[in-house]
């Protein structure tokens, strides 16, 4: 039975592994190498400096800032997206009328689901360009225009949105405005995910609960939510990756890609800034390697925390 297995496995793996090594692993390995040099990125001159870059980044004010901004997104993006998605899924699935067959989803829940999912199929670039227009700070954007019209905002002093470095609850306002876009674009997707998970819970579980006199809130918090634990924790891990990668939004939407005045710097934008604007490529690579290590540790931690026995229905 083992005849030809080695040849078969080699044949199947050769091309994908070769492509992956050449276009993914090799650039990463090179970058890790550059992180030990003072290479500027454009010249051919480079000197080995050992771990100097890594020592330097520990006391870099900009990186400390970016680190806390990343932590902010890491906490808020999953938290708000999942909370909103759960609320929407809850309303969709148990917000309807009750009848002899138990609690129903609201009328038109299929249509709502289709609409809420829209942002998920749009390109991040389309979303960013669109929100740029919505957030325009000169009173002509969608939100400023609306608020001026109903008198909530002074026409001479419109909301600055992503140009606003002033802290709100200790975090620069620009980050909150970016968070809103992330939640807006993600909630529908996770709502559909949670809805599907809710519907895969067998009906007799609910019937038993209703027979015991549990209402829809009780049923939701005591039965649905605990049974959704697996799905929610997977969603948390995924949203964690998304939160670490808010770069497209920062890149398109903030002044000088991380501004104003570095108020929206995240790891990725600091890497970009150091590599392409300050011409310190070796240092940028050191930051990126640190970010990679941070991400891997975080992923391992999350997997360990969320690992749990599966419930078989």
């Amino acid at each position: 039975m083992r005849h030809g297995v080695a040849r078969f496995v080699t044949g199947f793996l050769a091309l994908p592994v070769a492509l992956y090594l050449f276009y993914v692993v090799w650039p990463f390995a090179q970058a890790a190498g550059y992180s030990l040099t003072d290479w500027g990125g454009y010249s051919d001159r480079q000197q080995f400096v050992g771990l100097d870059n890594y020592v330097r980044l520990l006391s870099d004010e900009l990186i400390r800032k970016a680190f806390w901004h990343n932590v902010f997104f890491l906490v808020t993006v999953p938290l708000f997206t999942i909370a909103l998605a759960l609320l929407l899924a809850f309303l969709l699935n148990v917000g309807g009328r009750e009848d002899r067959a138990g609690i129903r989803g609201v009328f038109g829940s299929g249509l709502y689901k289709v609409i809420f999912f829209f942002p998920q199929v749009l390109s991040l670039v389309v979303i960013a360009v669109m929100w740029q227009q919505i957030y325009r700070a000169d009173g002509q954007g969608l939100i400023n225009g609306l608020l001026i019209k109903i008198g909530l905002v002074d026409a001479d002093n419109p909301i600055a949105f992503t140009n606003d470095p002033e802290p709100f609850l200790g975090v620069p306002a620009v980050l909150w405005w970016l968070l809103l876009i992330a939640v807006w674009s993600g909630a529908g997707f996770y709502m559909v995910l949670f809805s599907a998970a809710m519907q895969s819970i067998p009906k007799d579980v609910y019937e038993a609960a209703i027979l015991d006199g549990a209402g829809r809130f009780h049923t939701f918090f005591r039965i649905t939510l605990p049974l959704l634990r697996d799905t929610v924790s997977v969603a948390w891990v995924y949203l964690g990756f998304i939160a670490l990668d808010m770069f497209a939004l920062v890149y398109v939407m903030t002044p000088s890609q991380g501004g104003p005045n570095h108020a929206s710097e995240i790891f990725a934008s600091v890497i970009n800034f150091n590599a392409f604007q300050k011409g310190q490529f070796g240092y940028a690579c050191a930051i990126a390697v640190s970010l990679a290590i941070f991400t891997i540790l975080l992923a391992a931690l999350q997997l360990r925390i969320t690992r749990r026995e599966r419930i078989e229905y």
């Binding site: 039975m1 993914v24 917000g95 138990g102 398109v252």
Partner: protein, 318 residues
């Protein structure tokens, strides 16, 4: 809290229909308390508000694409232009959107097909055969999920540039090169996803196939791959959307060398349009461009919404 006390304790003669189906004409008056009605109303209110928050900006972009530039600036809020300016679309189309679409299509046809083929082949070999180095290769693919792409940017560009000197087809600004890069960068998740899928397939069928004298390759293509169809659909949709939306890699790699025009894909081209229109202040043209990038995807999604929803959520749920 208990709002279903009317019905509780009563045996139900008919089993309830599965959720997700629209409510049938069931007598429901007796079962609905006042609280339930209020809650139902509140649910609808909240859902409608969120639906408006999703649809209104999209609609606003589409309608702004039909305004004159003057209207975009003077009456930014209105959803109803005085007259429909269809030539905004014609202008944006000839200003580059036509070639963006063609380039995107050329690249995606190749890259999605190859990603699926190579990804499932690798995942299958890793999931169902034991050999030294199996775990190493698997973890190598998996680690790609956590590494920041920006780290690889400059070495990747240098690698592509140097390859282009020897093999022009694989140099910067070439479709074939972008296809291979997309495939390489999509392998991590594809392998990860299909790996877990192939592991769940029953052993008995594979063994029966081998006993019947099928080769390993034949077993894969005519037995195992068809059995993995649901997984292939999920990961296929995931890759189509992911690669359609990719903007960083093309911005990095589809750069003009030696004066030839850039072969831009749609996401990359839109960023450039949105930067350039700052000089030309062709706002309506920008909105038209965004609309054209957005509508095909939305239409495909609305037509295939069930498959897309289940495909994408299965990609996370596995």
């Amino acid at each position: 809290m208990s709002t279903v006390t009317h019905t509780s304790g009563r045996a139900r003669p008919t089993p309830p229909p599965p959720a997700g189906t629209t409510p049938g004409p069931v007598a429901e008056s007796a079962a609905n308390g006042v609280g339930a009605r209020i809650f139902n109303g509140f649910s609808h209110l909240f859902l409608v508000v969120w639906a408006i928050m999703v649809v209104y900006p999209l609609l606003w972009v589409v309608m702004s694409a039909l305004k004159t530039d003057a209207e975009v600036i003077r009456k930014p809020l209105s959803l109803f232009p005085a007259s429909l300016q269809w030539d905004n679309f014609a202008r944006a189309w000839t200003a580059g959107i036509d070639s963006f679409f063609l380039n995107t299509l050329l690249v995606l046809v190749g890259s999605v097909f190859l990603t699926m083929l190579l990804g499932s082949m690798a995942a299958y070999a890793l999931a169902r055969y034991e050999f030294p180095g199996n775990r190493l290769i698997y973890w190598m693919f998996l680690s790609g999920l956590t590494l920041p792409i920006y780290l690889a940017a400059v070495p990747l560009f240098k690698g592509v540039y140097n390859t282009g000197v020897v093999l022009p087809l694989l140099g910067p600004n070439k479709h074939v090169m972008l296809i291979l890069v997309y495939v390489a960068w999509s392998l991590s998740f594809t392998v990860f996803f299909m790996h877990s899928f192939f592991r769940t397939l029953p052993n008995a069928i594979a063994e029966a196939g081998l006993v019947d004298g099928a080769s390993h390759t034949r077993l894969f293509f005519s037995v195992m791959l068809p059995m993995a169809k649901p997984g292939l659909i999920s990961i296929g949709i995931f890759n189509v959307l992911g690669q359609w939306n990719q903007w960083y890699l093309p911005t990095l790699l589809m750069q003009s060398v030696a004066g030839e025009p850039k072969n831009q894909v749609i996401a990359q081209g839109l960023i450039e349009l949105s930067v350039n229109q700052g000089y030309k202040s062709d706002w309506s043209g920008l909105f038209a461009g965004v609309t054209m990038a957005m509508l095909p995807v939305l239409i495909v999604y609305i037509v295939f919404q069930r498959q897309v929803q289940s495909g994408l959520t299965a990609g996370v749920g596995k």
